[in-house]
Every structure is written in structure tokens, then in C-alpha cells.
């Protein structure tokens, strides 16, 4: 297992390097002169030259590339072009909010989606199956911001069960923090729940007619345990794969949820940076997202090795 983990971690390095190179190239092929954008059309040649010197853009391209990598290796993503704040601290400030929201969303999606899918597969074609299909179809087709507003209205305003403004509560008050996390996480997790339910249902329908299920029945294992242990353990492989892939989507999707629930987070930071053409902040955010996705993929791989005994030897 340790060797397996080590191997996965080593492959992480070239992946990250490729991502960083891509970001570096992208920023440089985007049309438009950064000096003119930043200093305005009326900038004097001297001002432009000074800008080039200060940002290192007058250096040869390989020099720029190496110093870019060097900076990132030191955890330095530069300073915001708008307010001169270090990008790293701007991101570090909101990253926990995005992470906790995404993780909570995944937890909601998996914890609701898996049982729903199993129950649907068990009643294949029956009324429970239809009910689950309707619920999941709703989850997939209902725009997230509409459900967010409705949830705020019903559970926040009318029933008053959850705070309307979420975030801001420190972890020293775990109850408050969790309460303020609940609605956004459920909102984000509902769509994922729908997908997970479908993946689980399909996997169960494929697995239940297997020979090894027949073997389990032939030795007298009760149906309940056949479904929830023998079959589900096999279906979990698909669920883990899907969750890993979907996690990246979830981090992206969180923008709308953050805006409606007025939470700080990476999504809101991206929108703000785009709005104000804050290229350094944007570049730092792209790097952050890329690293997150790569890390999540690696975690998925590791989890896969835990769930499927055949992976380790492969």
C-alpha cells in the first residue's frame, strides 16, 4: 500500500509541472498588452518600460518561466494588480470556505445518493424506482440558484431553522459553523445526489445478476446483506470514480451557491478578479484550481486502491 501511495505521489509532480506550464503559456498568449491594460492607453514609453522592468517581462522567456516556477515553489503567486495584496493570502483566506463547502456537498451527495440508488435498483421498475427517478430528475434539472433561493426562503426566512447569511462563523463555534454550512452544502449536494443515485442504481442493476451474487444466495446469505454488502461493495468502485471526477465540477459549481448564500469562497474571488481584470489574482486562482483538481484525482486513485483489492497489484 505504501509503495502504491508513493508511486501515485511521484506521478503528481509531472502533472503539476504540466499544469503550471500551461498556465504560464496561457497568460502569455492571451491577446493584449498587460502594460497598456494596466497603465491605460495614455501611458508614456518610460512608464511602460518601467512596468516591464518591475514585472520581469523584459527578461527572456525561459528566464520568466524559471522565475515563475521558482516563485510558485516558494508559495508566492505574486501580488494583486488591483490592490497589491499578496495573491497567496487572498486565496488562503477563502480557500477553507470553498473546501468545507465542497467536501460537505460531496458528503451530502454520496450519503443521500447511494442509498437512494440502491433502493431504486431493488424496486427496479416499481413505484419506489419511479419516485427516485422523479426526485433525481428534479435534482438534475432544477437550476442550483433557484433551489438555493427557495431553500433560503423556506428554511431560512419562513421556518427560521438555518441562518440566512452563512460563513463568518469561526470553527471555535462548530454548531454555528455547521448550521451556516448546512443549507449551502445541501443545495450543492442535491445535484450530486441525483448523479450518484443514478450511478449507484445502474451499478446495482449490473451487479445483482452476477454469478457471485448467486453464489452468495446459494450459501444462504440474507438478501439485505447481499444488497448492502456483497453488491454495494462492488458498486462503490463506480461511485468513487464518479465522486472524484465530480469533485472538480463541484468546486466550480460552488460559485452560484456562494453568491446566493453570500459566502466567501474561491468562486466569488474568481468572479471579482474577472470583473476587475486582476490578471495576477486570476493566474493564482487558476493555479489553485489546477492543484486542487490534481490533488483530488490523486486522492481518488488512492481511495480506489482501498476499495478495490485488484488495483494494488496492477
Amino acid at each position: 500500500m505504501l509503495r502504491f501511495i508513493g508511486r501515485r505521489l511521484v506521478t503528481l509532480v509531472p502533472t503539476l509541472l504540466a499544469v503550471l506550464t500551461l498556465v504560464f503559456v496561457l497568460v502569455r498568449v492571451v491577446p493584449g498588452n498587460p502594460a497598456l491594460i494596466l497603465l491605460g492607453d495614455q501611458a508614456t514609453p518610460e512608464a511602460i518600460a518601467r512596468f516591464y522592468r518591475e514585472t520581469g517581462l523584459d527578461q527572456p522567456i525561459w528566464h520568466q518561466y524559471l522565475s515563475f516556477l521558482g516563485q510558485i515553489a516558494r508559495g508566492d503567486l505574486g501580488r494583486s494588480m488591483i490592490n497589491d495584496r499578496p495573491v497567496t493570502s487572498a486565496i488562503a483566506e477563502v480557500l477553507p470556505y470553498t473546501l468545507e463547502l465542497s467536501i460537505a456537498g460531496v458528503v451530502v451527495g454520496v450519503l443521500l445518493g447511494v442509498p437512494l440508488g440502491v433502493v431504486a435498483a431493488r424496486s427496479n421498475g416499481g413505484w419506489v424506482d419511479w419516485l427516485v427517478r422523479i426526485v433525481t430528475l428534479g435534482g438534475l434539472s432544477f437550476p442550483a440558484f433557484v433551489s438555493a433561493i427557495m431553500m433560503l426562503l423556506v428554511f431560512g426566512l419562513w421556518l427560521g431553522w438555518f441562518p440566512i447569511i452563512s460563513g463568518g462563523k469561526p470553527w471555535s463555534d462548530p454548531g454555528g459553523r455547521l448550521m451556516s454550512l448546512a443549507l449551502p452544502a445541501i443545495n450543492l449536494g442535491l445535484v450530486m445526489m441525483a448523479y450518484v443515485a443514478r450511478v449507484t442504481r445502474g451499478g446495482m442493476l449490473n451487479t445483482l445478476p452476477s454469478d457471485f451474487i448467486r453464489t452468495a444466495r446459494a450459501k444462504g446469505v440474507p438478501m439485505r446483506r447481499i444488497v448492502w454488502k456483497h453488491a454495494l461493495r462492488n458498486v462503490l468502485l463506480a461511485v468513487v470514480t464518479f465522486t472524484g471526477l465530480y469533485f472538480s465540477v463541484l468546486i466550480g459549481n460552488s460559485v452560484l451557491t456562494e453568491i446566493v448564500f453570500n459566502r466567501p469562497g474561491l468562486g466569488k474571488l474568481v468572479v471579482g478578479a474577472l470583473d476587475r481584470r486582476d490578471y495576477t489574482l486570476l493566474q493564482g486562482l487558476v493555479v489553485t484550481y489546477a492543484v486542487l483538481v490534481v490533488v483530488v484525482n490523486t486522492l481518488t486513485d488512492l481511495l480506489y486502491g482501498l476499495v478495490d483489492p485488484r488495483v494494488k497489484t496492477g
Binding site: K219, G220, M223, T313
Partner: protein, 330 residues
Amino acid sequence: MSVLHIDDLRTSLTLNGRQHHAVREVNFRIEEGETVAVVGESGCGKSMLAMSIMGLLPSIAVVTDGHVVLEGKPIERESERQMEAIRGARIGMIFQEPMTALNPVLTVGEQIAEPLRDHLGLSRSEARRRAIALMERVRIPSAASRYDSYPHEFSGGMRQRVVIALAIACGPRLLIADEPTTALDVTVQRQILDLLDMLQDDGRMAMMLITHNLGIVAAHADRVVVMYGGDMVESAPVRALFRNPAHPYSRALLASLPRVDRDLSELASIPGRVPPLTRLPDGCRFIDRCPHAMKICQALPPRVPVADDAEHEVRCWLHVEGSGRDASAG
């Protein structure tokens, strides 16, 4: 008392709203320590018969008539819960495909220990000890260290040994082996069959061996039930069947066996094929392929003894006194 008595069993499938008999009036017994082979081509109802005994029929199939009597008690109408207590405890079953018969994400030890815990109520550590003993009994080398291995770390033959171990874990009175060696290569086949013989002698277990391989029948069975199209066409002690097959289908089946002392340039085969379930004739189901077919064969033939041997029964009009002549005259 017989371990198993199949008493005029009928199992029907409902396809497109119509009922079809997949198993029709099958009737035989298996005594303690005895091996009864059930032979026939694919689609003859062998597996459907096994699933009727196990209570594991697909939802479109149901036992409509007759009884499955296990140690004197009919079990064909038992509830699912009661069948769960019987399966694995009093009836064990092994299957054709060892490669897919085991759960890929559970350790083999866990899969063998599970029925021990379910049926015998053993503790985790006790079940583990017993499972390792079982693995040794089915000749899995270094059993203790392989308890925590997964099925993909085993060869086909070793997996079949695991399947056998979990089937016999609770000391069943009856073992149903559904083509246990068909998917294995010949040397491994031999080992597995010898293993089954040995296990049976240990515990006086009754065995129902489903196969299409007459060589296996000759070497490992005491009696044979020949099935065709869901009918039991003949049942006899092995020697009687090989020496004096009574049903035209049994004769054709034996004639199709290649023999080393005969010219092998031409392999005998039975003309035609098994009709599909939806187009089975009402009378004798072999009628379309039978060289001796008569008018009367359109009616279901009775079971009659062959040569006054009560152990040897055939379901064929040819052996009913006078019927052949009557039919050709009329």
C-alpha cells in the same frame, strides 16, 4: 429416507403471458452418500431443476406442481427466510464458472467464513479457524496465509476449490454441482472431481452432479437421470444405462460418444436441435428428432420400468406394451 426426493416436479416459465414447462414431471431420489448425475444438452432444464431445488428461480419461473422433498419434508413452498436457512446449511451448491463465482472485493476467507457465521453462529475467530481448516480440506496449499487473499490471486482450479469449501462449510446433506468442471482444463477437472468424491465419502453427503459429460458420469456417478427438453426421459443405475440405454435419446447420446476402439473418422451426432422452450411439443419432446417417432408420441409417454428392473425407468411409448403396434395400426 432419501436425502432428496424430486416428486413429479413441474417448473413453469411465463414468457409473453404464456406458461411453458421448463421442468415437467421429473421424478427421482438421491440417497445418502449417493451421486446422481443429471445429464442432457444445454437447455434441457438441468439448471432450472437445480434452481427449483434451491428456491432460486428467476422471478418469471415458479414450481407449479409436485414436490422437492428434502429429508422427508417438502420445501418447494417454503418462504424466502426459511430457504435462506436451508441454503448453505443443508444444501450446498457449486457452479460452472469459478472465475466469476466469487465476489472480487471480499477475501476468500471472508466468503468461506460467512455461512459458518450465518448458519452455525460461530464467532469471527472461530469461523476463521474453521474456514482455514476447510481450505486445507479442499487442498488449498498454505491455507492459513491465503485466508486474506482475494479471488483474483487464485487460479481457476483454486477458485473452484474455494467455491467447494464454502458450499460444504456447514456440512450440507446434499451438494448440487452444476457443471463444476466444464470451465476448467482437463487435469484440473480430474483433481476437482476426485476432491468431490473424497469429500462425499467423508460425510456421506448426497450429490447431484449436473453435467453433459458422459465420461464424468461413468467415472463418478452411481445413477443417471437423462433429461431432454425439461423431461426426465430415463433414469437408471450408471451401468444399466451404459449397457442398455432404453430411450432413443439416451441411445443417441451414448452413440455420439467418441470411442477409442472405433473408427473416429466420423463422429455420430443427433440430427436436429433442442426445440426452444416456446415451441416444445405437448407429448414426447424428442418426437421431432426421434428415429422411432410414432403417432402416439404426440401424447406424453408414461414412466415404465425397463426389463423388469425397478431401478431403471424410461419415459417412452416404445417400452409400453402393445402401444407401438397400436399406434402404427391406427
